[in-house]
């Protein structure tokens, strides 16, 4: 099976194509494409994908287009290239087949956190997931447990609200005197919070969390991790830390976590979220239990 899509001569219009599954777009193999690509960094069988097209099934929803008001899956055959990510694949589909296909992306290097999708049943960052590492066909859906605005775009407002609840900024008015206003941190303390600073606000963890799905007020792994990042930072005073602990020990805070490890498993920045939540639970207990 070595058929692949031919690029359309004319630029695509903004309309949905009449043939969304691209059945009419099969064409003989493009010789140029055939020469490219070996796969080496992947688990997939090298010969399997080389010069082939890969099939992606993408979730479609658009409240403003009649036949997309009821969500459906569209299939696209995308020519495979070495190193192709899920984001590359949906971008190819958008640029060559259906310009109405909508998703967020920006940096393409796992920094901006805008392209977390639900890929083959798991929350993953589109730009950090190799097509060759996935089982085919690849199913691409918007993040679960968030309202879908259009296609792969979900409403992130609630996630951002939760992030802001924990006051994600350093609180220290007592700045050092002199020209240098920098607030120094010890190497050890930097190591301590290092992993927690890596969050890119992608929302994958929140979407994977079964508790967050059932309790809309639950702060969620990312916000708690953000609280950890500051609570453990020595540059803030003890009172500020206590204030932070009071926020996270509330009814919808750390105690909601049931240690399912779902968030830790999906975090694209490998933040040990469950570990941080557990540590804050112990900190909260220590704060309230004072026998001495």
């Amino acid at each position: 099976m070595s058929t692949q899509q031919q690029e359309p001569e004319q630029p695509e219009s903004q309309e949905t194509p009449k043939d969304p599954e691209m059945k009419g777009a099969e064409s003989p193999v493009d010789e140029k494409e055939k020469e490219t690509g070996e796969i080496d960094q992947t688990t997939a069988d090298e010969t399997e994908l080389e010069g082939e097209t890969v099939l992606i099934k993408v979730f479609r929803y658009d409240p403003e287009v009649a036949d997309k008001q009821e969500p459906r899956f569209d299939e696209f055959h995308v020519p495979f290239e070495k190193g192709m990510t899920v984001l590359d694949a949906v971008m190819y589909a958008r640029d060559h087949y259906d310009s109405s296909l909508t998703f967020r992306h920006s940096c393409r290097q796992a920094v901006c956190g805008s392209d977390a999708f639900f890929v083959n049943g798991k929350q993953r960052l589109g730009c950090k997931t190799q097509m060759a590492d996935l089982e085919h066909p690849v199913r691409i859906e918007p993040l679960p447990h968030q309202e879908v605005v259009k296609d792969l775009v979900v409403d992130m407002d609630h996630f951002y609200d939760q992030m802001h609840t924990v006051e994600p900024y350093l609180q220290q008015d007592d700045l050092p005197t002199g020209d240098l206003e920098e607030q120094r941190q010890s190497r050890e303390n930097r190591e301590k919070i290092k992993m927690s600073t890596r969050c890119i606000w992608c929302g994958a963890c929140m979407s994977s969390c079964n508790i967050a799905a059932g309790d809309n007020e639950y702060l969620g792994p990312a916000a708690i991790n953000k609280a950890y990042r500051f609570a453990m930072d020595d540059r803030e005073d003890e009172e500020v830390k206590e204030h932070r602990l009071r926020i996270i020990e509330q009814e919808h805070g750390v105690w909601r976590c049931q240690t399912q490890f779902s968030c830790t498993e999906v975090c694209p920045k490998d933040i040990p979220l469950t570990e941080h939540i557990q540590e804050l639970k112990r900190e909260a207990v220590k704060k309230n239990l004072k026998f001495w």
Partner: protein
């Protein structure tokens, strides 16, 4: 927000094949915890109705014909009760082993191996359960 689509909870139990170790551990722990509670109350109900006669006739007790003895003997002669006992052991053993795992998780010990300790609880539970079968099914016929 003009209009958006809520996909509800379809992503959860419909996708059980994709659940990870920690999720299964959670489900099994809930399930076994509530099974144990269920057993506890059944246990109290059965025994407290059976001890009614224990205060009674000393000669009945001596001959083994009091209600308590006959109730227990009657239950233990049923094959299904023996099978349920094996099930109870399995549920209790898993709950205890995974409970110890959860204590470790709460103390922040060995979090990187949390999936392995879950599989270890499962394997140990299976071994102990299988090993208990001869004892539990001793001397009962279908």
């Amino acid at each position: 927000m003009s209009q958006s689509y809520n996909r509800g909870l379809i992503e959860d139990f419909g996708r059980w094949k994709e659940f990870s170790a920690g999720m299964w551990a959670w489900i099994f722990h809930k399930f076994t915890g509530w099974m144990l509670i269920g057993y506890l109350f059944t246990h109290i109900a059965v025994l407290s109705t059976a001890v009614g006669a224990a205060s009674g006739d000393a000669s009945l007790v001596a001959s083994g014909d009091d209600i308590y003895t006959t109730t227990i003997q009657g239950l233990e002669s049923l094959f299904i009760v023996r099978v349920l006992e094996v099930g109870l052991l399995a549920v209790a053993v898993f709950h205890i082993l995974n409970g110890l795992r959860l204590l470790m998780v709460d103390l922040g010990v060995g979090l990187d191996a949390q999936d392995k300790s879950f599989y270890a609880s499962l394997v140990l539970t299976a071994i102990i359960t299988v090993a208990s079968v001869p004892t539990f099914l001793d001397g009962v016929t279908l």
